[in-house]
Symmetry: C2
Subunit: 233 residues, 2 copies
């Protein structure tokens, strides 16, 4: 197993190393079934567990949805320890309806990973909507795609994330922000609330409330309700 | 890969098939590091994503903690689709400080899986504390270990779960219940609140609030606060 993983890491590295020359024309037929709402979630070592699985829980209860994980290696380890299996490697790009970008300690290194940022820059053009959770917005910021956009991020890491891109209209008080193509949420559990907001946008409030009840959740349904807001004045 | 998985499924099945003859004396040295708070989480196909990852998020931020996944096969698929990698198979038992048992659609079949229930019955004797989330309590109920114990479960599946064991003191109104060796939570997201409660029991309220803030969570810290309570009268 280890050998296979090492091989995959090498091949993945070799492939991402050649990303600049890689055309963004890969078919998604083999990744998603027909007529599904296609959610592609980026994973990387030291991603924050709830950043990813909170939104997956809520979005995964929507009708006709399919969720796939993409990452640099076959297995990816969360900050908390447990590992997920990627459904595809970052050797190509995919058409999807929603690109999910979690945060976590791993983003501290990845903001300087030119190959990752390049892959992401192309993948953004193949994604109808982009949803970042926590410091996932730091990766988006490094692609310059948030320039001129209202966005938010983890309030515990606010100074670091906002220092990465001056042209972003960073919001110091917001559970989440939906501006055009980008839905950005505050830290960790805020992503779960933002996911229900997105389910509401797609299927209406009745469906969002059905999922809230099904999961016995207490949805913070007001994006302006942010007890962790940064007060800059 | 498929071949390897099929092999693992077969070998796992073969091994669990011989559980009755398997002595519960396996060393945990190879699974957990020394001097850690050892959390072993059971996973199975169609487990509910947040049942597992909500508690892992909160408990994973406690000091000196290690979290390992145990399941019937190398890869286990959540109800929402994404897969996790098990750290060990159910071919033996492990000493642990906390056994985590998520729920989900998969439990509907597993309550009739004699090999799983037998493995669990032995594993309970090797676990200092048992923490079930949602319909994970259905699996516990089938081991008879909850007989005479106060416990709760998913309120959406209350009738089914409570029908599995008459001797359990089922609580129709509770976010979670802590009775002796067993901490049982209500549906899905209630497990995240119960996990913070357990962090508080182990490390005090300051540590629990630190984790709540770190994850920008809104902890329902009152076990009696249950908007999904069943009113039997």
């Amino acid at each position: 197993m280890l050998k296979r993983r090492q091989f995959l890491k090498m091949s993945s590295a070799a492939i991402t190393g050649s990303l600049l020359a890689f055309p963004a024309t890969a078919s998604t037929a083999s990744l998603f079934k027909e007529k599904r709402y296609r959610i592609l979630a980026l994973v990387f070592d030291d991603y924050e567990t709830l950043d990813l699985h909170g939104p997956i829980e809520m979005l995964g209860h929507m009708p006709d949805v399919e969720i796939k994980l993409v990452g640099p290696t076959e297995f990816v380890k969360s900050y908390q320890g447990p590992r997920v299996v990627t459904d595809t490697l970052m050797d190509r790009h995919y058409d999807c309806d929603l690109l999910l970008i979690p945060g976590g300690l791993g983003t501290r290194k990845l903001v300087d990973d030119k190959q990752l940022i390049h892959w992401l820059t192309i993948q953004l053009t193949r994604s109808k909507k982009i949803f970042s959770i926590c410091t996932g917005s730091a990766l988006l910021a490094k692609t310059s795609s948030l320039d001129g956009i209202k966005a938010t991020t983890n309030k515990m890491a606010y100074q670091w994330v906002t220092s990465l891109a001056d042209e972003v209209h960073w919001q110091p008080k917001a559970r989440w922000v939906d501006d055009g193509k980008f839905l950005t949420s505050s830290g960790v559990s805020a992503g779960t609330d933002a996911a229900l907001y997105w389910a509401k946008q797609l299927h209406g409030e009745v469906e969002a409330r059905r999922i809230e009840t099904l999961t016995e959740y207490r949805w913070v349904d007001d994006s302006n309700s942010d007890p962790y807001a940064i007060f800059t004045e």
